[in-house]
Each structure stands twice: as structure tokens, then as C-alpha cells.
């Protein structure tokens, strides 16, 4: 008796499943809704948010797209530069304060796809960023060094010139973790 019951139940269950499957394929189920992701953090050139954006603006800066940055943050950035270096005139790139902020206020990293890539190596300027580029010294010199790079000598280098481990010469280039 039990065997018959089980077979009947199994059969009924299978018919229910088939009915459900047929129902699904005939039914106009709505497609799965698209999955979206919203911006939480962003970076172009190193340290721009941390140097030039006041505390009250940091979260906003991180959720702003590059084309909107100048309109929203130029004044804050000019104020920050003036507070950092009230004696600022121009820098090694020959930029006035307004011109300097004009470059920095759209926070994107410029890169070349045809030449040497470097943040600044004395020849190439803003053509990329390598792992070994001393971006801190570059930014310190451009902020404090004046027209020739020789002003404020105590502030134009942190004298940490390289990474704590050598980089790899092949992919993935970064050193193994500690």
C-alpha cells in the first residue's frame, strides 16, 4: 500500500512542478530589475581631496563627477592654497594660484598613451603616475617651492624618496604584502 501512495504522491508532485514550469514560461514575468551602483569615493591625482578640500566638503567631493568639480570647489581650493602658502606667486610650472587651481579643480589623472608615463620627472609633466613616482615631493615643490622650486626648503621634500619594498619588473608590479 505504501508503495502505491508514494508513487502517486511523487507523480502528483511532478505534475505540479511541470504545471508550475509551464505557467512560468507562458507568464510574462517582468525582467529582473537592473542593478545599479552609486559613487562613494573617487580619486584622480593623489591627495587633492585631502589637501585642498575643507572637512565639510570631503564627502561631497567624493560623490561629485569631474565636470561638476570646478563649479562647486574652485573657491574652496583657492582659499586652501592661500592658507597653505600665503606667499604663493607662481611655481615651477609657471602657474599663478588661479591657474594652478584651474588645473587641479578637475580631479583627473592625465596620462599619455604614446610616450613616457610619469607624474613629473623633470621632463614629462602629468603624463601618468608610476609606482615609484614621488608624488608627495612633486606636490610639495609645486605648492611651496616658488618659481624656481627653491623657496621654503624645509617644506619641499619629506625626504622619503621611495617605497619600503622594491617593485616587481613584471605584472602585477606591486610588491608582495607584509
Amino acid at each position: 500500500m505504501k508503495k502505491y501512495s508514494i508513487k502517486l504522491m511523487t507523480g502528483a508532485a511532478m505534475m505540479l512542478l511541470i504545471a508550475a514550469a509551464c505557467s512560468k514560461s507562458n507568464n510574462n514575468n517582468p525582467p529582473a530589475p537592473p542593478v545599479y551602483y552609486d559613487q562613494a569615493d573617487q580619486v584622480g591625482r593623489p591627495a587633492i581631496n585631502t589637501v585642498f578640500i575643507p572637512a565639510s566638503g570631503k564627502d561631497s567631493f567624493n560623490t561629485t563627477i569631474p565636470t561638476q568639480m570646478p563649479g562647486l570647489f574652485t573657491n574652496d581650493m583657492k582659499t586652501s592654497l592661500a592658507a597653505l602658502n600665503p606667499g604663493y606667486t607662481t611655481n615651477l610650472l609657471g602657474l599663478t594660484a588661479d591657474q594652478f587651481i584651474g588645473v587641479l579643480s578637475t580631479d583627473v589623472l592625465n596620462a599619455s598613451t604614446t610616450g613616457v608615463t610619469s607624474f613629473y620627472n623633470g621632463t614629462q609633466v602629468l603624463t601618468g603616475r608610476t609606482l615609484s613616482d614621488d608624488v608627495i615631493d612633486v606636490e610639495l615643490i609645486l605648492l611651496f617651492g616658488g618659481p624656481k622650486g627653491s623657496d621654503n626648503p624645509g617644506l619641499t621634500s619629506d625626504h622619503v624618496n621611495g617605497n619600503d619594498k622594491p617593485f616587481l619588473t613584471s605584472f602585477p608590479y606591486e610588491a608582495a604584502p607584509w
Binding site: 542593478v35 551602483y37 580619486v43 572637512a55 597653505l84 600665503p86 599619455s112 619629506d158 622619503v160 606591486e174
Partner: protein, 218 residues
Amino acid sequence: MKQKKLVLIVGVAIATTIGGFLLASDHIDAPAVKNQTTDITDLYVFNGADTNNLVFVANTQGLLAPASTAAAAFDPNTLIQINIDNNGDNVEDEVIQAIYSGTTMNFYGPVKPSMTGIRSKIEGAVTASVAVTAYGAAPVTAGSASGIKVFAGARDDPFFFDLDQYHAILAGKAPGFNNPGKDAFAGTNVMSVVVEVPKKLLNSTGKINVWLTTKKKV
């Protein structure tokens, strides 16, 4: 710690005229991303060992102590997106996306995105997929037929800066940097995604503008 968080001090009268200053490249730069998987530390863009290729390095979750690194993980709800403008209007023309599936890091692109700006969706089919390299293991890499190479895992943080001396300068305890300085990021790790891309896939006429975004699933 709030004390360590950089606050840009405007108009403070310090003899050396330094106001608020560099904390670190982008490490814990803002309250909303502090200690989150969305916290970006750095973006690097440079020629590969084969200069026909361009390498993008996208680092997140910085200041990982070695003891914390084994447990560090990517987040399936955090999209890591490299944005590339190749016509100078600062709007992304190509994107490279990386998102963790829970076992592998899946890469998409470079591809023209269907939508630009704050909100994104995953674009198209997976280009390459790689197991996340376990802490302490040799790097696991993978590639695509189009010549893309990918890696995801913990790496030594490549950023270097004497952050502690900067704090001393801010506090008025030092007039300038020491020589030699001391790298505050020595001995710390980050979670890193590295993508090497044949330049011909970038649709560039010579110059690109690049920015890195992390995006949280809505």
C-alpha cells in the same frame, strides 16, 4: 581615530605658514568612506613592461596591518571602476570595472559605458576573471584573449610619505620635514586590483584622463 583624520586648517597662524596639509594620497580622506571597502587609497597609470600596454592600479582599504591582511576581503557590493576620458571633456568614454563575486574578481571592459556619472551598472559580459590571490601566496594572474592581464589581492601599499612628521609640523612641534624622513606607510598593505591593457583597446589619440571610483550597490 578622529585625531588622525586630516582636517584642513584654514587661516591658522603658524610661523611656518603651513595650514592643513597632505594626509596621504587618498587614504581615509573623508568620513563616509573611512574603514569601508569603498575607501580608495591610490590610482596609478603607467606603461607596462611591454610599452604597448597601459597598466592601471586601483588600491583600496589601506593601512592594513599584516595581522589584519589575511582577513581583508573585497566586497561583492562594491564596484571598482576605472574611468577613461579619451577626448578631453572629462566624461568617461571607456570604463574598466572590477567586482568581487565572492570567489573571483570579475573584470569588464574596456567598454563604452551605457550610462555615465554617479550611477553605474555592470557593462556587458566578463572580459577576464581571476581568483583573488590569498595572503602570502604568489600572485595569481589571468588574462583575456584580447591580451588583458588581471590581478586582485593584497599587496604592500606602494604609497610612501612621512605622515608623522607632517603631523608634528601641523602641531607646531617642528618647522619642517626631517632628513631622512620616515615612511608612515612602511609595513602596511592594501587591497589591490591591477589591470594591464593593450593600448589599442583604449581608443586614444595620445592623451587620456583617468579617475578611479568606487560605487556601492544601490
